[in-house]
């Protein structure tokens, strides 16, 4: 009998070890995150904290902030977070960051594990994945109570951050995708830069002119944009439609896509855009190795806010931007994109997180550090503060954004299957480039696949 009791005790102990070991802990600090070096910033705040005589204990909070970017952007974001900690000694900001691709993989995993950071860098093309699945906090109460002050935000910009009348994200910067060209390259070739307003026909003619003047096998007039999701979205809007309807279904027809694929198929076959292999080779290279930066294509589609980034790597010639080619019989296709800040639903300190977001987008010192890293700032007042501090490339970016903002509209928040549709577009465009599909077949396959993806949701 005594033995049995000891035995039971042993098993109970074992059971407890198992359950505690299995359950893990959600509130453990994210010490396992790759960017351990980054926490040094927060550690250095500790002594400063002791100077402050016992801050209100309930205000003490540690919030996690995550974003994507390169080294330069990390410095900027870190500086803003440091500044915030200095002004709010009772809030500590733990930072996590990574490159664009890693960022979304990690965020998806963290969100799934109920371990998402409090303040999350969000993007217009990705927000659907999170907002439509209820992973983001409704910020309306913080906007109404003034914790997040959006008084200086134009309505169009506020509107973009909304889903079903809930504010799910706040703009860090708004931008649109335009067509870039290098003025120096065009001048050297003797090609007159195109007008800000240009049609698809004029675009094709210009690209051909560039290609002809290049007169080289490894240089082209323009990048192949047939598989660029944003370009297709703009094209659909020019037709008075949307690639994705409000209800999340596919908004374009096969006929629409036949025109689209035929346009790009012809350009490629005429040698004006790169061949399939070159296209595949450069599909995933970093910015500094892209065909445009290497001076091997005349035109490419990039968000305006990246003019300074491209200019960084281009030593000869100025990077300028135009709006998208237009359809003379169609409507304006441009829509507002950009980077945003959200709070995840699992956040334990939403108030502190909201305070930080407000600081990020409104504080004078913060926006002076941030400048136009992610596009023109959401707040018009902040833009005025920042404008005199910009270099010429940054000013060109702001001008392009402001010019286009007048014609740009708001996109319905995309459906959760958007990422897969983008993949389907890439697959189909690539097959067409390699000669496995005609433009008609490509259109048919894209519409069928996309509809299948979207219907499943």
């Amino acid at each position: 009998m005594k033995n049995i009791r000891g035995l039971l005790f042993g098993f109970m102990a074992l059971l407890m070890i198992i359950t505690t070991a299995c359950s893990g802990s959600n509130n453990a600090p994210p010490a396992n995150n790759a960017n351990a070096a980054d926490t040094s910033n927060t550690v250095s705040e500790q002594p400063a904290k002791e100077d402050v005589p016992a801050p209100a204990a309930e205000g003490d909070a540690e919030i996690r902030f995550t974003w994507w970017g390169d080294t330069k952007r990390h410095e900027i974001y870190n500086a803003i977070a440091d500044l915030f900690e200095k002004e709010n000694p009772n809030i500590k900001i733990v930072r996590e960051f990574g490159s664009w691709n890693d960022y979304w993989d990690k965020l998806a995993t963290q969100t799934a594990g109920g371990n998402a950071p409090d303040v999350v860098g969000m993007h217009a093309t990705q927000v659907a994945n999170y907002a439509q699945r209820g992973a983001l906090l409704d910020l309306t109460q913080y906007v109404e109570s003034g914790v997040i002050n959006l008084d200086d935000f134009p309505d169009a910009v506020k509107e973009v951050g909304k889903l079903n009348d809930q504010t799910v994200m706040v703009a860090q910067g708004v931008t649109m995708t335009g067509i870039f060209y290098n003025k120096g390259v065009l001048e050297k070739l003797g090609v007159e830069p195109p007008d800000f307003n240009w049609t698809y026909d004029e675009f094709a003619a210009k690209a051909k002119e560039v290609k002809d003047k290049f007169n080289a096998k490894d240089s082209w007039g323009s990048n192949d944009l047939s598989s660029d999701l944003t370009s297709v979205m703009v094209y659909a809007r020019q037709k008075g439609k949307n690639l994705f309807n409000d209800d999340g279904s596919l908004g374009v027809t096969k006929e629409d896509m036949v025109w689209w694929f035929s346009f790009w198929d012809k350009l490629r076959k005429d040698g004006i855009t790169p061949d399939a292999e070159t296209r595949a080779q450069y599909a995933t290279v970093p910015l500094e190795q892209s065909l445009f930066v290497l001076g091997k294509v005349g035109f490419t589609a990039v968000p305006y806010n990246q003019i300074p980034n491209y200019q960084n790597f281009i030593k000869e010639g100025e990077v300028h931007a135009l709006r998208r080619p237009t359809d003379p019989e169609g409507q304006n296709g441009e829509f507002i994109e950009g980077a945003y800040l959200s709070i995840s639903k699992s956040s334990k300190h939403p108030e502190a997180a909201a305070k930080f977001i407000n600081f990020f987008v409104n504080n004078e010192e913060a926006v002076k550090i941030f400048k136009i890293e992610q596009g023109a700032l959401g707040s018009t007042k902040a833009n005025e503060i920042v404008l005199p501090t910009l270099d010429p490339a940054q000013q060109r970016a702001v001008t392009a954004i402001q010019d286009t903002l007048e014609i740009a509209g708001k996109l319905p928040l995309p459906p959760a299957g958007q990422g897969q549709v983008a993949q389907a577009l890439t697959d189909v465009g690539e097959s067409m480039a390699f000669g496995q599909l005609t433009p008609e077949q490509a259109a048919e396959e894209f519409v069928t696949n996309a509809a299948a993806i979207l219907n499943k949701k």
Partner: protein, 297 residues
């Protein structure tokens, strides 16, 4: 009840000593596996509760998903071509080294090095540079007057660059072959020499048959790991599996579905199908082994 009591009384110390492993196994292997098995019958986007859909994931995989079929084909090619080539190459190098050259230890270490960091991201990045349009391979080819091509961007050749990368990681198999070769008694070679056997005859009649248990082991290990190959394709193709899905390994597609497309249920189903495929192929190799594996004695 008494039997259970007796069992517990006699064994509990054993289980206690086993507990570190047992807990690890239950938490890190058994539970996740069971959960993924459950998920494979659901639609699960990682943020909302899983939604039971029965066998739909499996049905879609085998009937509607062309990309799944493409990834199966790519993986099959990779295994069928890559593994035999890698093993032959490993055996070839092992035979070279066995001939007793001076500094054997040194060479053995050197040849093993690629395997040490073979699966790493850095090497995959290096591969991208080597086989790119203006990479080292092409500039070497140009020196002998051949105009190269873009090996990674061509759907016909991209997979082969990954196979070469796999072959290059021959070190682990080689070391095992080398150990196996040393097990073969020297007197067999001596007596065969007296009987007039040449080098080729020695290889085909002594070395190869006596090495079959080692080949068998290496084959099973390499087939299993080849089916699970992921890093090289993920890095070399930039995560896309392109061009034209020609490097879309099974595991890469699984990853895309799970983490990029938020179809964790589907990805779980794919994981289980892969497990069954590997189990089936391994079983086939084991069953066939009676026909071609010879054990001394």
């Amino acid at each position: 009840m008494d039997a259970l009591r007796a069992f517990v009384r006699n064994n509990w110390v054993g289980y206690l000593f086993l507990s570190p492993w047992l807990i690890g196994f239950i938490c890190l292997s058994a539970f996740p596996m069971g959960f993924s098995f459950y998920l494979s019958f659901t639609q699960y986007d990682m943020m909302n509760a899983p939604n039971w859909i029965g066998l739909s994931n499996y049905a879609e995989m085998f009937t509607a998903d062309r990309k799944f079929m493409a990834s199966m084909k790519v993986t099959a090619n990779y295994v069928l071509i890559g593994v035999p080539l890698q093993l032959s190459f490993a055996l070839f190098i092992a035979l070279m080294l066995k001939r007793g050259i001076r500094g054997l230890q040194f060479y053995r270490a050197i040849y093993y090095v690629p395997s040490l960091f073979g699966g790493s991201v850095a090497i995959a990045l290096l591969w991208r540079q080597l086989f790119g349009g203006d990479g080292l391979v092409n500039s070497l080819l140009l020196k002998v007057g051949i105009e190269g091509m873009n090996w990674l961007a061509n759907p016909g050749t991209a997979l082969y660059t990954l196979i070469i990368l796999a072959i290059w990681q021959f070190g682990a198999s080689m070391v095992i072959f080398l150990a196996g070769l040393k097990q073969i008694p020297n007197d067999l070679y001596e007596s065969s020499k007296i009987d007039g056997a040449g080098r080729y005859r020695q290889f085909s009649s002594i070395t190869l048959p006596l090495l079959t248990p080692i080949i068998f082991f290496n084959l099973v290990m390499q087939v299993i790991s080849a089916f699970q190959a992921f890093t090289s394709s993920y890095i070399v193709s930039g995560g896309s599996g392109g061009p034209l899905n020609s490097t879309l390994f099974y595991t890469l597609y699984l990853y895309q579905q799970g983490f990029t497309n938020f179809l964790m249920g589907y990805a779980s189903a794919m994981a289980w199908v892969l497990l069954l495929i590997i189990a089936f192929i391994t079983a086939l190799i084991f069953l066939s082994s009676g026909k071609w594996v010879f054990y001394q004695e």
